[in-house]
């Protein structure tokens, strides 16, 4: 009598791992001198990919992000996932006070609100105005050309130019002019740590921002885009978007004095939206804030728009998905959503058997009537 085998799962898993490793190394079959990707190459030449994985993985570790990209064969969701899983085994040793982004060592800084801003616009590295024409010359780029460029570029740039290391924030000026709401009086509140506390709705703005800062870029963009197109009414103006290195200040273990422990690359964006009538004061603009680890402008802008949308939803009740905190915050995490989408590939024999039972019974009931 034949029966269905119930053994073999272990070998199947080992086989799947082996064939995946084959794919990673397959190039050597065709090019005997092929070399494994080294992490430095990934960190420097695929830096936006590394930044994305750092931000979605939720830990600033460019080297491990590069490793994660290498072992996942470039799958961003998988790479962010492995990095996040590593991160979740690390204990929390201490927390920094709020970082001061006006101290950012800026590599790019723009404002869409003003032609001229205190400190000036600084375009920096951006594809915004590049023609998206394929650069065919890179297909067979020679080592010599590659190794030459950066050196020459540095020689031509003017080392005596007095570019300041940091710039004032655009919104500081607007706030001084009374065009933005005043800062909250109590600014000592502890940040909500989403890695240590569950979200219980309604959640604080701190929890909202932390959840979005770790969100999957595409998910955040899709929800923000729905608001931009018409399922919402933020109509934002980018007051400032800045990218650069922010010093991380940690309290000294003995003296408690703040010392600089290093710096992290951060993208930060403030959007300004139309003013609202206030019952007890003159009307002012409203503000949305976005910031994430790494250089990821689309993510920071999307986050700022959603922050503004969610503030409105909290105040007046949500009228669109992007204004509903539960809808936004519970559907933007890449690790959660990709995991759940993938889990449908697992066996569901038992539940499907149960479904069959219900359908057959319902069919019988129908036949009887």
């Amino acid at each position: 009598m034949s029966y269905v085998p119930i053994k073999g799962g272990g070998q199947a898993i080992a086989g799947a791992a082996a064939v995946t490793e084959f794919l990673r190394t397959e190039q050597a079959l065709h090019q005997p001198n092929a070399q494994a990707l080294d992490l430095q190459t990934i960190q420097f030449q695929l830096r936006h990919l590394v930044d994305r994985v750092i931000s979605e993985g939720g830990v600033y570790h460019p080297e491990l992000a590069a490793l994660s990209i290498k072992q996942s064969l470039g799958d961003t969701l998988e790479a962010a996932f492995s990095l996040r899983a590593w991160r979740s085994t690390r204990p929390r040793l201490c927390a920094t006070p709020a970082l001061d982004t006006s101290k950012m060592r800026v590599i790019r800084r723009i404002s869409a609100a003003f032609k001229d801003i205190p400190g000036g616009q600084m375009l920096g590295a951006t594809p915004d105005y590049a023609l998206r024409l394929l650069r065919m010359e890179l297909i067979n780029e020679s080592d010599a050309t590659f190794q030459h460029y950066a050196k020459e570029w540095l020689k031509q740039s003017n080392p005596t130019a007095t570019t300041p290391m940091s710039f004032p924030k655009v919104i500081s000026a607007l706030r001084a002019d009374g065009l933005l709401p005043a800062l909250e009086a109590d600014r000592t509140a502890q940040a909500f740590d989403i890695t240590r506390e569950p979200l219980i709705f309604p959640v604080s703005r701190s929890a909202t921002l932390a959840t979005m800062a770790r969100a999957e870029t595409g998910s955040l963009l899709a929800l923000a885009y729905s608001n931009m197109r018409g399922y919402g009414d933020v109509h934002p103006t980018v007051a400032e978007l800045r990218v650069g290195y922010v010093p991380i200040m940690l309290p000294h273990a003995v003296t408690g004095e703040l010392i600089e422990a290093g710096e992290v690359l951060v993208t930060e964006c403030e959007v300004i939206a139309m003013y609202e009538a206030q019952s007890d004061a003159k009307p002012v603009f409203t503000l949305g804030y976005g910031a994430c680890l790494g250089h990821n402008e689309v993510k920071a802008i999307s986050m700022a728009i959603l922050d503004r949308a969610l503030q409105k939803g909290k105040k007046d009740g949500p009228t669109n998905p992007s204004e509903d905190a539960e809808f936004v915050l519970l559907h933007i995490d890449g690790v959660d959503s990709m995991g759940f989408a993938s889990h449908y590939k697992m066996p569901h024999y038992v539940t499907f058997q149960s479904d069959l039972d219900r359908l057959r019974t319902a069919q019988q009931q129908e036949a009887c009537t």
Binding site: M1, S2, Y3, V4, I6, K7, G9, G10, A12, I13, H61, P62, E63, L64, F81, S82, R84, A85, R87, S88, T89, P91, R92, I194, T195, R196, E197, P198, L199, I200, F201, P202, E326, L330, V335, D336, M338, G339, F340, A341, S342, H343, Y344, M346, P347, H348, Y349, V350, T351, Q353, S354, D355, L356, D357, R358, T361, A362, Q365, E366, T369
Partner: protein, 297 residues
């Protein structure tokens, strides 16, 4: 540019993978869940190195509870050897050195399972951990968690009962096949995880502690030992488990061990003929061994 990794530290994970703070948090949440039967206690679910939806909630419970002397059994779809069960068991063996694993239900002190409760009745000495994709039975009638929380607090399950009623009007039958809403200790209604209806009666007055872990949704809840568990139904429409009778009304038997009172998986053979086999592979093995023993004696 980067913190240098110490190679010796790279692979050194704590016993049970999670750090002790995380385990402590999960144990405290578990105690709360036991104190309020059926209540979904939120917790800061950690990311595990397998996909959300693959049992990360159950796994965090298991890892927080496993001690050095543990005898662990892991099953998925009733089988110890399905890919996901193997994967989880290997991970537990790797991160909890010194513990024992077993496939024999009666030998296990802690059982992690997806979609099944073992056929073999559990005892006071055992803990069953179930993996949960959707912790809240109200999600089918109310998408907002905030609103659901209020409904649970007020034990307001009227919309769920209306859904069951509408089923009867439309199909003359309650169509919920698995994840059958079950009232615990006469207050909170739980989603008992995607176990078939066949397994739901095993929750009632269970001798073993039954814990539910939803990693992605970040909730833990419990059916403590000897607790009332009652599937939602109506007086004139009683709760019914899956029917395995053939066309002539005869209860089908497992093609392998001959058991006539287990949950069966259905297979279609190449000839088009359908055969049935125990879903619980350990149960099937033990029935088979018992049958061959009595056959030999």
């Amino acid at each position: 540019m980067n913190a240098q990794l110490n190679p010796a530290v790279k692979t050194a994970y704590n016993f049970g993978f999670l750090d002790e703070y995380a385990k402590k948090e999960i144990r405290r949440v578990t105690l709360k869940a036991i104190c309020i039967p059926g209540y979904q206690v939120p917790y800061a679910s950690r990311e595990m190195p397998m996909g959300r939806g693959f049992g990360t909630g159950g796994l965090q419970l298991s890892l927080a509870l496993i001690g050095q002397q543990e005898q662990v059994k892991v099953i998925d779809q009733g089988s110890d050897d399905s890919v996901n069960a193997v994967n989880l068991r290997q991970f537990i063996e790797m991160t909890c050195p010194g513990i024992d694993t077993t496939t024999r239900t009666q030998d296990a002190t802690l059982i992690q399972s997806r979609h099944r409760i073992p056929e073999q009745p559990l005892t006071e000495q055992q803990i069953l951990v179930l993996q949960v994709p959707y912790p809240d039975p109200l999600v089918i009638v109310e998408p907002s968690e905030d609103k659901r929380k209020v409904m649970h607090g007020e034990a307001d399950y009227s919309r769920l009962l209306v859904k069951l009623y509408e089923d009867i009007v439309q199909f003359n039958e309650i169509t919920i096949s698995h994840r059958y809403p079950t009232k615990i200790n006469q207050h909170y209604v739980i989603d008992p995880s995607p176990i078939p209806r066949w397994d739901v009666p095993k929750l009632h007055q269970s001798k073993a502690l039954i814990l539910f872990g939803a990693g992605r949704e970040k909730k833990i809840y419990a059916v403590p030992p000897f607790t009332h568990a009652e599937p939602l139904a109506f007086e004139d429409q009683p709760f019914r488990v899956e029917n395995f009778d053939d066309a002539s009304g005869q209860r089908r038997a497992c093609v392998r061990c001959g058991c006539q009172d287990s949950f069966l998986d259905e297979f279609t053979q190449e000839t088009g003929q359908k055969i049935y086999q125990c879903s619980d592979s350990d149960w099937c093995e033990q029935q088979l061994a018992r049958r061959s023993e009595s056959g030999n004696s």
